[in-house]
Symmetry: C2
Subunit: 227 residues, 2 copies
DNA sequence: CGGTATCCCCGTCGATACTG
DNA sequence: CAGTATCGACGGGGATACCG
């Protein structure tokens, strides 16, 4: 993207921030992603080549730093600088506006894999039973290769598996993609979806009752949509 | 720009907002521009074709409305909807971040015409003498065709002229482009630039003394730069 | 003033394959 | 895991000219 040739602070900020994929990459970094592959999982549409290029641009702009660079450490990582941290409220502002006013989602936008990936960072593990909890999410209307996902929760950590883990499933959640996505977005309350059967939960009664408390929704779910 | 295919509110908002020129067009609308040519003067780099296309996109997205559309009125105008008004704090957030953290401006970015255009909306006409006040701005290092501009202030209204108006000049301000731009951006105080002669003001003593109070700076001038 | 029409270039991005 | 190399196509957008 060539520059705007204006010294307005909005124009200067835009040069970097409005490049394609940039805000989504920053969203992942704000959400705590540090490794290349984790950032990529949160922005699956981008090619690795381009992701690398964007990360280099962010580093050059002083928004991202690579703490381990040059240390020979085997764990490359990306981190937000102070300038990057200050983008948090900016992104929150854009997202908040999007929650209120952006277009409706199309079926195209409903990527089940991404839904699970973004959910996995917003599970209240503190309320889960001791030890390991395995939740299987089954999307009844998804193509075979992204029908089922497994969330393995242990010691406050949540891992997303695309194949059945070797552990027993404690809770099976079945739903169409859109139904769960709309709950996630705060457009419908979970309990009403459970009551009318659009989302079903199977497992031990204790687990089933606790499930709604585990599921933290999108950070913007509480902002009321205007359109 | 093709869509991101994510139902994240940030992604949905980005689809429209991160299109090239979009934020600058919205900046002009937020600043009060209503007519096509006024928007264009604030974003001189864009082609009319593309500007029209972007405005249509904004209208389609519900951010801009055309109150006179279909009325046969001869004064076409663009206006922000409620959704558009709610972008104000979002743009202010991005610009505020830019003021603190964006790259330094290059000589390329120092368009004198744009500086005058953006200044003309931030003149404190209430403090000016009754009747008409004409300020000539002369950029000593600018190419001939954008060396001089005239601000004609009358009845609370400020007009930018590229050619000498038929009225006498009350105040002549001479400066290099960068010097005035840096004052505008809040990087240096005006009075020190006046004292050291990097910016010179000629005219009746009363006018000369009043001038600094007329010149409101960039809305972001008071935000301290961090880099 | 407020746009259109047309042409064409070049940079961006996507696809695929490969590597330390 | 964390990228790199190479290639090709597309389309956004820049330039110029024109119109009601």
């Amino acid at each position: 993207m060539s520059a705007y040739r204006q010294f307005c602070p909005l124009a200067l900020a835009s040069e970097t921030l409005t490049q394609r994929w940039m805000l989504l990459i920053l969203r992942e970094l704000c959400a705590g992603a540090r490794r290349f592959s984790d950032i990529h999982r949160g922005v699956p549409g981008i090619r690795p080549t381009l992701l690398k290029k964007r990360l280099d641009t962010l580093e050059f702009a002083g928004i991202v730093a690579r703490p381990t660079r040059g240390t020979g450490s085997s764990k490359p990582a990306y981190a937000l600088t102070t300038a990057g941290e200050e983008l948090r409220p900016v992104l929150a502002g854009i997202a908040g506006w999007g929650q209120r006013w952006a277009r409706d989602v199309r079926d195209d936008d409903l990527d089940p894999g991404w839904l699970v990936w973004t959910m996995h960072r917003r599970l209240n593990t503190a309320l889960m039973p001791q030890g390991r909890t395995v939740i299987q999410i089954c999307f009844s209307d998804a193509p075979a290769h992204q029908r089922s996902f497994w969330l393995v929760c242990a010691e406050g950590d949540v891992e997303v598996c695309l194949k059945p883990p070797r552990f027993d499933v404690d809770l099976l959640v079945t739903s169409r993609v859109r139904a769960l996505a709309e709950v996630w977005r705060g457009l419908r309350p979970l309990d009403s979806e459970l009551r009318c059967g659009r989302i079903r939960v199977e497992g031990a009664p204790k687990m089933r009752r606790a499930f709604p408390s585990w599921l933290l929704l999108s950070p913007y779910a509480s902002i009321e949509r205007q359109v």
